[in-house]
């Protein structure tokens, strides 16, 4: 069965059903409940390494520690077209050899992908989005104000 018909069948099967739960005993499924895309535990582990290659741990947490790979999976699952989901899974599958490789190899692999590569673009855009909108960054780095309580339209920029 090719990937396309596999995914199509999956859609028929899924229909809003939860494929897995966080307490699933099946070790070959992702740790979060998804609606459409079947990510395996291996996919999840690989994605956690890839998001960390994009935004690594430094003196502050990296994307893996902030669970951005779970966000990427969630967004691919719910917010992308079936076509993009398929391309994403294909791209992820091609990257599977990176599981055991050092960080430098992962960065090198991603950097070498075509700039129009759908897998790369989804992965990178969603990683950046998830990181910038994470509780950690919005509370500690680029602080988001829920209640600004003010507007000043002419503030001098500090040199």
């Amino acid at each position: 069965m090719d990937r396309r018909s596999a995914i199509k069948q999956l859609f028929v099967l899924a229909g809003g059903m939860m494929i897995a739960t966080s307490c699933s005993t099946n070790t070959n499924t992702a740790s979060i409940a998804l609606n459409n895309v079947k990510f395996t535990a291996g996919d999840e582990a690989l994605l956690s390494d890839l998001v960390d290659a994009i935004i690594p741990k430094t003196d502050s947490p990296g994307a893996k520690e902030l669970n951005i790979h779970l966000f990427v999976m969630k967004m691919v699952d719910d917010c992308h077209s079936p076509e993009d989901q398929e391309l994403f899974l294909q791209g992820l599958s091609k990257a599977s050899g990176l599981s055991d490789k050092p960080m430098e190899d992962r960065v090198a692999y991603l950097s070498a992908l075509d700039k129009d590569d759908v897998f790369l673009n989804i992965l990178k855009q969603r990683t950046i989005q998830g990181y910038l909108n994470s509780e950690y960054v919005m509370k500690n780095k680029l602080v988001y104000e829920l209640v600004p309580g003010r507007y000043d339209g002419a503030v001098k920029v500090e040199a």
Binding site: I54, T58, D78, L142, Y144, L146, P148, R150
Partner: protein, 571 residues
Amino acid sequence: MANINIDSRKDRTYDAIVIGSGISGGWSAKELAERGLKTLVLERGRDVQHVKDYPTTNLYPWEFEHRNEMPYKVREENPIVSRCYAFHEDAAHFFVKDKEHPYIQEKPFDWIRGYQVGGKSLLWARQTQRWSDFDFEGPLRDGFAVDWPIRYADLKPWYDYVERFAGISGDRDGLPELPDGEFLPAYPLNVVEKYFKQKVEAKYSSRKVIAARCAHISKPQPIHIQQGRTQCQNRTLCQRGCPFGGYFSSNASTLPWAAKTGNMTLRPDAVVHSILYDGDKGRAIGVKVIDRNTKEEIDFYAKLIFVNAAAINTNLILLNSRSDRFPNGLGNDSGTLGKYVAFHNYSARIYGEYEGLLDFKTVGRNPAGGGYIPRFRNLHRQETDFLRGYAAGFSAWRSSHADRSGFGDDLKNSLLNPQLGNWGVGSHMMGETIPKASNYVALDAQQKDDWGMPLLKVHIDYDDNDEKMKKDYLDTLEEMFQEAGFTNIRRDDRWQAPGLDIHEMGGVRMGNDPKTSMLNKWNQMHAVPNVFVTDGASMTSTSTQNPSLTYMAFSARSVDYAVKEMKKGNI
């Protein structure tokens, strides 16, 4: 059994019925209840109570499952509402989904609806400018539609009245085309908006750039505190419902106020099927309702009926109110019901950058959204090859940018240290459209919705006048942008369907002559004197200004008249 029926009918009898709880219905309800009338407010959607029923209001961005983005499946299933700028995870529960409430588009029309207590008053863009005699005299001067049966002086005291209660922020700019009101302090223009104002006003004597006027409490007055509302906290998350009551909505303001009188009964989940007419009395006697959940049919009775279902649905209800006397819809002796529907042309925008004033930025968020350019085209005399004109929004913002090209430490460092870029500037057009008989809504003869209401056919389109006006807007704004030294100017004239402006108006228009209009100068049906229509359906023409404030003023004015007439025994 007979007695039970009599009692039951008594229980279902009120002094007045208001159909709809949105921005105009809320006002009708408040004014009726304050005057001591036992008032039933019918709302087709579910109840939404202020604060309690704003589930997303205090959520941070990371608390949204999809960071406020609508899932693919929802967008695919609901292409119409997905085109609305405010349809995101934080407010999706306040929008009608396409599938739930179908209609027939004989021409593309994006009908954006909010079926809940408060209606679209929870979701509106809160821009509030008065209309002037340049608007009310427009049809007469330029020979379209019919003459408005009122002038600005008729409405002025009611603008004063509703503004004080609602809380409207703005500057007193002294412009006859945009009359000043009872304003709270304005949200001032930012440094680049001010710069643009100076450039424009120095070059063109007839063009102004002013601070946008909006329904936000910039400085609460005792009347706002009494409503339990307080100062706007600049969240600009208004579409979620505001826990501060910082902007005006029926939920935060008029409905609780009406409830406090003890005279209002609010009945959510009540889909109005039709208005009941008694041919012997020559009056409407009540309203037929279908319960949204049980589909049960219930009649309610009242001496006075206010129709505030929002423009298109008001047309639908009246078209569906058929009797021997009115086979083509209630009060439709003129044959104009459903016709002369118009809207605002929002189909062009223009963007640019400004590379000056880079030693300034903004802090916080501006609930007014920036600046407003009142209509200047064809204002005092006809000067172009199209009728009427447009107003425009104008705003400037300074955002930060990060280089996203790399990977790893470099990327992370770049993301966490964004750099201020040039100023962005943008404008959107708000064009008046000409009401025409060929722009209409009508009932489908066969298809019905889940509540047994005929599906509405919508037949509304742009015309040549709109196209010419749009080109003039783009050319004119581009010239003004160039004059201000803006760079990287991008014209955006991507088409959008009528309706997406969410300013649909007309179909039940006011006029002096019962032969060519539905309502008189009091928004009272020529042919059925105890029925009043004070929402967008009643508009004879569209002006270029945002309409909601005018619906509020019409509602308050009409109730005042109706209750006086009732006391005189004329209704």
